[in-house]
């Protein structure tokens, strides 16, 4: 009886070990099928001037970042400071994709909080977002000179992530 009585504890410790390892894994971190593939091309009006339609093809030849945001998204408020600081470094141009938003709300949001973007594309019905496989806002894509997606992050950006992962990647891409 005495020895068997320790078995439940043993089983539990094995379970705890697995759960501990599992904590450091992210089940949502699914590899994007778009990584290293050409980014979907699109033409969308600019949030600043709705009559000016911009084509994503014009951005070829440079490394740039597309950040999906919306005025209704609380997590976007969280990453906003990090984005402002990143934009101030002027490492690469930062473009926004204003996803499923109302135009007035988007303009007000940028005016009140500050605009980190070179420009934001207005994707009111979310069609371009669907092409990019956006399933939650915010999401961020790093696109290289040839127009291929090289990195994707779902969820809010943090200063650490920008410093330790994204900036080195940009350096490697030679921007």
């Amino acid at each position: 009886m005495k020895k068997q009585a320790w078995l439940p504890l043993l089983a539990f410790l094995v379970l705890i070990a697995f759960l501990g390892v599992g904590l450091r894994l992210d089940p949502r971190e699914l590899p994007s099928p778009l990584i290293d593939r050409p980014a979907p091309s699109f033409a969308l009006p600019s949030v600043e001037a709705m009559d000016r339609v911009r084509n994503s093809g014009d951005l070829r030849g440079q490394v740039w970042i597309l950040n999906v945001w919306a005025s209704w998204c609380v997590a976007c408020r969280q990453e906003h400071g990090a984005l402002m600081a990143f934009a101030a470094q002027q490492a690469v141009p930062l473009y926004g994709l204003n996803y499923k938003d109302r135009h007035g709300d988007a303009v007000r949001w940028l005016r009140e909080r500050g605009d980190p973007y070179v420009d934001s594309f207005f994707d009111g019905d979310g069609r371009v977002g669907i092409d990019f496989g956006v399933y939650g806002v915010p999401e961020t894509f790093l696109i290289d000179r040839e127009g291929r997606i090289r990195y994707k992050h779902a969820g809010p950006l943090t200063p650490e992530l920008l410093r330790d992962t994204i900036l080195p990647l940009i350096g490697a891409l030679g921007a």
């Binding site: 539990f12 759960l19 501990g20 390892v21 599992g22 904590l23 992210d26 089940p27 949502r28 919306a70």
Partner: protein, 678 residues
């Protein structure tokens, strides 16, 4: 101001809970009764301040205080007030606060209904429960504070997840948590008994009503959750083997094993360590469920936004509580006697079989739930385990348990005669076999699995009838009424709960064998037929709701050219929600023998719509079975032997108690066990 009061109340609750744990335990060690007696008022104070905090959060939701981050994330001015209040537990922080509120409520209940318990036992029990409370209070205050302010305040909130905007949500989490958290009471009792080295029949009898009550709540909570998924998700399914559903099923299975094991410990004095282990495991699984849902190690429709800090905290807490209790278990195990012996064919052996099957079933659910995590942790890739695994493993494990359910209650304690059992059950067997052959034949299609399902259901019904008949057969007919009246509540509770399981089996078997499902494209005034019913789309129009816009179809259902129902499924766009995904609001005509279920799909060009039509025979029996099981548990809790002390008191002094006070810890009456067999 109000949120700060809530925050402060939580801090005070933490201080009081520390008092509730430390001083009474110190008193137990020193034999100081005054310090032990502190545990009752401390538990009262803890419950009071947690209630204040909860009320403050409710007020912030009610008053649309969008300077509170949690309110911004889960509410909106357009949300009706009842949903604003229910939105308190629509997210992570509020759910944990609800968990804590219910835990402090259970603690208070133990403190109040424990007049006959030895003071040192009560002090230990409340201290153990207080330790759990401290863990949750620290978790809330340091990682999940619902009172965090947002600066600058938001103009309006993001709205509650539209799927959760349903009356089912108002009730489902509180019921489920009542069950989950209630398992802390048997856990506290088991730990206290281990610490004191007093694992006796009185301990088991004391624990039983508490374990049964929380198991009933868990049953109702699961049934309601399943019903909610059925009508709200619009797929017509009632169980999805989602990790969060599994997290509630595991403690339910172990809780069921615990109830049966407690019966043996009380009546026969055996299975003591096994019962203690089950009490530990049932509560551990509640905590594990909380961990799985809150830490984000698994993806699930239920999982809220996750934060690694929270996961680490809960894991540490789980390690301390469960690890500590298992160490105590291992240290004390050798000191406990084996108890009385029993033969291979006896009620004990069958209850042991039932226990093992239920535990293995819970283990297999756990394996399936955690398997993706294990594989990922071993670096072997990502995969998901779906219903095929669970159905293939779970059903074969439950089938023998259901069979034993018929035999066990008829078998005698200690030693039963297999030949006698066979003789008494032979008619039940014949009737069940006949029903297994005939019922599917009447329903129109026979398959081995369907027949087997009906066999088990009828086996449960007929063996319950044999059981009741066994108590009447040898008596003259005029005494029957008197005999029926003197049977204890726990006996009827057992019968009702078992029959409830049979009702559930009928529902599951029938709906999975004979449901009809059709996806059709319909234009207004067109008709589609399914299972003998004709569904006519009368019209489709737009209709505004308080915080959504709905496309609403009106569909008339005809049977033999008579209109029997008008269904109005909707497709709603919630205007304030983050996702612009439409929500399907199915419309259901519920009946005893069939549900007519219609959900509206996408609009096509030219005014046509995709309409999903289901005819689901006997589906409501699934939830009916759940309600019967909970009812059976309720009957058992109300058994008069738990109120014996009250009855012994002179009539004019009988205290007016609403809930059954648990029995005396000391002086268990051995005379009772001869007559009461459960």
């Amino acid at each position: 101001m109000i949120p700060e009061i809530g925050h402060f109340a939580l801090s005070l609750a933490l201080l009081l809970t520390v008092v509730q744990v430390v001083l009474p335990l110190w008193g137990v060690a020193r034999g100081n009764a005054a310090w032990m007696a502190l545990s009752r008022p401390a538990a009262l104070g803890q419950a009071l301040f947690v209630l204040v905090a909860f009320a403050c959060l409710m007020w912030s939701f009610y008053a649309n205080d969008f300077s509170v981050r949690y309110v911004v994330q889960h509410s909106n001015t357009a949300l009706p007030w009842a949903y604003r209040l229910a939105a308190v537990w629509g997210g992570h922080e509020g759910s944990i606060l609800l968990w804590l509120l219910i835990l402090s409520g259970w603690t208070l209940a133990v403190a109040l209904y424990s007049r006959h318990l030895e003071l040192s036992m009560l002090a230990r029990i409340l201290a153990i429960m207080g330790l759990v409370s401290i863990g949750f209070l620290l978790f809330i205050l340091f990682t999940s504070n619902p009172f965090d302010r947002l600066f600058p305040a938001a103009l309006n909130g993001d709205d509650l997840n539209p799927q959760l905007q349903d009356p089912g949500l108002i009730l489902h989490p509180p019921l489920l948590y009542m069950g989950y958290v209630g398992m802390a009471v048997p856990f506290g009792f088991a730990m206290a008994a281990l610490l004191a080295g007093k694992l006796d029949a009185a301990w088991a009898r004391w624990t039983r009503p508490w374990a049964t009550t929380s198991w009933c709540f868990l049953t109702l909570g699961i049934a309601l959750g399943s019903a909610w998924a059925y009508y709200e998700l619009g797929w017509g399914g009632w169980w999805f083997w989602d990790p969060v559903e599994n997290a509630s099923l595991m403690p339910w299975l172990v809780g069921a094993a615990l109830l049966h094991s407690l019966a043996v410990t009380e009546k026969r004095g055996t299975f003591k360590m096994w019962t203690v282990l089950l009490a530990i495991v049932a509560f551990s699984l509640s905590l594990l469920g909380t961990f799985l849902v809150r830490s984000g190690v698994l993806t699930s429709v239920h999982a809220f936004a996750t934060d690694p800090k929270r996961g680490i905290f809960i894991l540490l807490f789980l390690g301390i509580v469960v690890g500590g209790s298992l160490v105590l278990f291992a240290l004390k195990a050798s000191q406990v006697g084996i108890g009385s012996r029993f033969a291979a064919v006896s009620r004990e052996s069958m209850l042991l079989g039932n226990n093992v099957l239920l535990m293995v079933a819970a283990g297999s659910v756990m394996l399936g739930t955690l398997y993706p995590l294990l594989i990922d942790a071993l670096g072997m890739g990502k995969l998901s385990v779906g219903p095929p695994y669970f159905n293939a493993v779970f059903v074969p494990l439950m089938a023998p348990a259901l069979f034993l359910m018929g035999v066990g209650p008829i078998a005698r304690w200690q030693r039963a005669d297999a030949g006698d059992l066979a003789r008494r059950l032979r008619w039940a067997l014949v009737v069940s076999l006949a029903a297994a052959l005939v019922t599917p034949w009447i329903a129109g299609r026979w398959s081995a699995l369907t027949g087997f399902g009906y066999f088990l259901a009828f086996w449960i019904f007929t063996s319950a009838a044999v059981n009741l008949w066994g108590r009447l057969a040898k008596r003259p007919r005029r005494e029957w009424w008197r005999i029926l009246r003197v049977q204890p509540g726990s006996y009827y509770g057992m019968l009702v709960a078992h029959v409830g399981m049979g009702v559930l089996v009928v529902g599951v078997t029938t709906v999975s064998s004979y449901e009809v499902e059709r996806d059709v494209v319909m234009r207004p005034s067109e008709t589609a037929a399914a299972a003998g019913y004709a569904f006519r789309l009368d019209s489709i129009s737009q209709r505004p709701g308080p915080n959504y816009i709905a496309d609403r179809a009106v569909i008339s259902v005809f049977r033999n050219d008579r209109r029997i129902a008008i269904l109005t499924p909707e497709r709603r766009i919630y205007t304030a929600a983050r996702s612009a995904n439409p929500m399907t609001e199915a419309s259901i005509d519920t009946g005893v023998t069939r549900d007519l279920y219609v959900a509206l799909g996408d609009a096509l060009d030219g005014g046509a719509w995709i309409v999903r039509i289901y005819v689901k025979p006997f589906v409501s029996w699934i939830w009916g079975g759940g309600i019967l099981m909970a009812l059976g548990g309720g009957l058992a809790v109300l058994d008069r032997r738990y109120r014996r002390r009250v009855k012994q008191a002179p009539a004019h002094e009988a205290p007016p108690m609403a809930a059954p006070p648990p029995p005396a810890y000391q002086g268990a009456r051995s005379g009772v066990s001869h007559r009461v067999e459960t």
